[in-house]
């Protein structure tokens, strides 16, 4: 897999963490699901790195493999039917895939935590939120019930839930969507983990609340100097929060870039298509652009570049050869740090 090797070199990790290892490094990760219709290749060689204090946004539509990658990192993938045929997930240089399930469980919650999309269904309906928050401290740190509750109230204050003391014994259904997501964030933050994975944390919220929740998340991340992986399909959500973006398509990263550069000059036709399909006020009255076609069936990913059947630039080369994630440079050949594109025609796309 030559592409992978090149890709691993291309976007060089920005500064290494403790003992020379980045906080989290995903290397050539493959995930497949064995279904009745054959093998669905959900993730096909993903590489990325997150450092402490850094926010990586993973962008992609449904079925692009962004959530599956996160589940593989957390170790909550259903196996079977899921399988990880190859790849490494290094947390501070240690491969989590080779750890025992007990070692991995000890990392979860303490070192790596996750925030889920739908906070209502992610909170246990029969337990009060105070109990669920306190559970983190009771289980992982062995605190008494009373101390755990005090900590829970403190956490609820921290994520700015009004009247935390009065509401600590309430049940999840008694909170609004935004408040529930704050509770989810509080749970993930409870043990001050080094890395947080947020899987579409604002998708289930209404727009006015989205911004508040994102702000809170970003603020807490700065405060604790955590690494954050933000999984989303919403280009608007990531712009203010993320440091760098990885765009995924059909289980591969097709473009990586520092956040603002991606918006300014996309180097992959898919990213360009995504940006063009955002409704804009200055184009009122015109037809809204849409990427034609549908995402590929993961049991039958097209040969060559997976995006070729939907790509306006595709030619015969794209139908036969898989493009590697190659470094993107300026027209004069000067380097653009952190940028990479898996397109045979990235030059035309970025400069044309």
């Amino acid at each position: 897999m030559t592409i992978i090797d090149k890709a691993a070199e291309a976007p060089a990790p920005r500064g290494a963490g403790e003992n020379g290892h980045p906080l989290l490094q995903v290397r050539d990760l493959h995930v497949e699901f064995h279904t009745r219709d054959g093998v669905a290749k959900a993730v096909n060689g993903v590489n990325y790195t997150v450092d402490a204090g850094e926010t990586l946004a993973v962008l992609g539509e449904s079925g692009s493999g962004k959530s599956v990658t996160a589940q593989a990192i957390m170790g909550i993938l259903d196996m079977p039917p899921g399988r990880i045929p190859k790849g490494e997930i290094l947390f501070r240089g240690e491969d989590m895939l080779t750890m025992s399930s007990d070692e991995r469980r000890r990392l979860r919650g303490r070192k790596i935590a996750m925030i889920f999309q739908d906070a209502l269904s992610s909170l246990n309906p029969v337990l009060s939120v105070g109990y669920q928050l306190g559970e983190m401290f009771r289980v992982h740190q062995g605190l008494s019930k009373k101390d755990a509750k005090a900590k829970a109230i403190e956490l609820m204050d921290r994520v700015k839930i009004p009247a935390a003391r009065a509401r600590v014994n309430d049940y999840p259904h008694q909170f609004s969507g935004g408040m529930r997501q704050r509770i989810m964030i509080a749970m993930a933050l409870a043990l001050e983990p080094d890395l947080i994975i947020a899987d579409e944390p604002t998708t289930a919220l209404d727009v006015t609340v989205q911004a508040q929740v994102m702000e809170l998340l970003a603020e807490l991340q700065r405060e604790y100097n955590m690494g954050l992986i933000l999984i989303t399909h919403d280009l608007g959500v990531v712009a203010d929060v993320a440091d760098k973006i990885a765009v995924m398509y059909a289980g591969r990263i097709v473009e990586t870039a520092p956040v603002h550069e991606l918006y300014k000059r996309p180097a992959h036709p898919y990213t360009r298509g995504l940006l063009d399909s955002i409704p804009r006020l200055d184009q009122k009255g015109q037809e809204l652009y849409a990427i034609k076609g549908l995402p590929p069936n993961l049991t039958r990913i097209p040969t060559g570049c997976a995006f070729n059947p939907r790509c306006p630039k595709a030619d015969d080369l794209c139908r036969t050869e898989i493009p590697a994630l190659a470094p993107v440079t300026e027209q004069d050949g000067s380097e653009l740090p952190g940028r990479g594109s898996a397109c045979h025609f990235w030059k035309e796309t970025i400069h044309g």
Binding site: I76, L123, N124, E135, V139, P162, A166, Y171, H173, Q174
Partner: protein, 322 residues
Amino acid sequence: MPEKTATTPETDVTVEAATAAAVDASVTDTGPAPDKARSLWSDAWHDLRRNPLFLVSAVLIFILLVIAAFPSLFTSASPRDADLVNHYLQAPNWSHFFSPDWFGYDGQGRSIYARVLYGARASIMVGVGVTVLVTLLGTLVGMLAGYFGGWVDTLLSRLTDVFFGIPFLLGALVILTSFEKREVWVVILALAFLGWTQIARVARGSVITIKQADYVVAAKALGASTSRILVKHILPNALAPIIVVATIALGGYIAAEATLSFLGIGLTEPTVSWGVDVSSAREQLRNAPHVLIVPSVMVSITVLSFLMFGDAVRNALDPKLR
């Protein structure tokens, strides 16, 4: 549903305004909750307190439990004092409330009133005992099968099927006839041995649904161990349907004990039980029907109370089934 019960509009606003207010109250981000925190159980209790079916059955069950625990509070007569000379098949004296001859005497000259009171203990013990055992065993098997799936599920589910395939009465017949002296605990064990499959199936089904819930995945992602997930996150959510099935089945076990005793293979003398009394009343059915009728009516009342109780609990825990 919880919101609806949580906020009862007290002023005479229109229905729309009331629902809007309820929605509003639940959406507000600030201020304390509009009502006291309410779990599934306190919600169910809130419903139950207002349900006449529940109140009637609960009072009846309470009286039965008191009788079962302290039968001597209600009569000074002994259920084993036989006086054939004076009381052989003596007819009931309906106006002598709470006296030994209230319900007459049986073919051995024993006070039926006393026997009915003392017989309650055996019936209630069988009903409650079987239900407790069946619930524990069924929940354990169902939870393990449902949560772990794979070969564990295959093994336990087939085992459940095997036991499910044994006809209840026939199985009980076979087991109980192999015991010489059949005391209460023998009947409890025999019925529990055959009866746990229903709960196991219900538990397995609800655990399978719940283990896919996001909050279980979330608990896992936050580092909860398997045993913690099972006990703290899955069990409390799976409990409602199990409790419903168990309470409704309780009446059935009491009826089963009476049936088995009537057939002569349940409890035996000297144990005092309604089934034993019904069984021994067969011979004098024509000339002294009261000997049969009184204990049968007691069985019916008890079974009915537990069925009503189970029904009320089901309605409270799962309003959709109403």
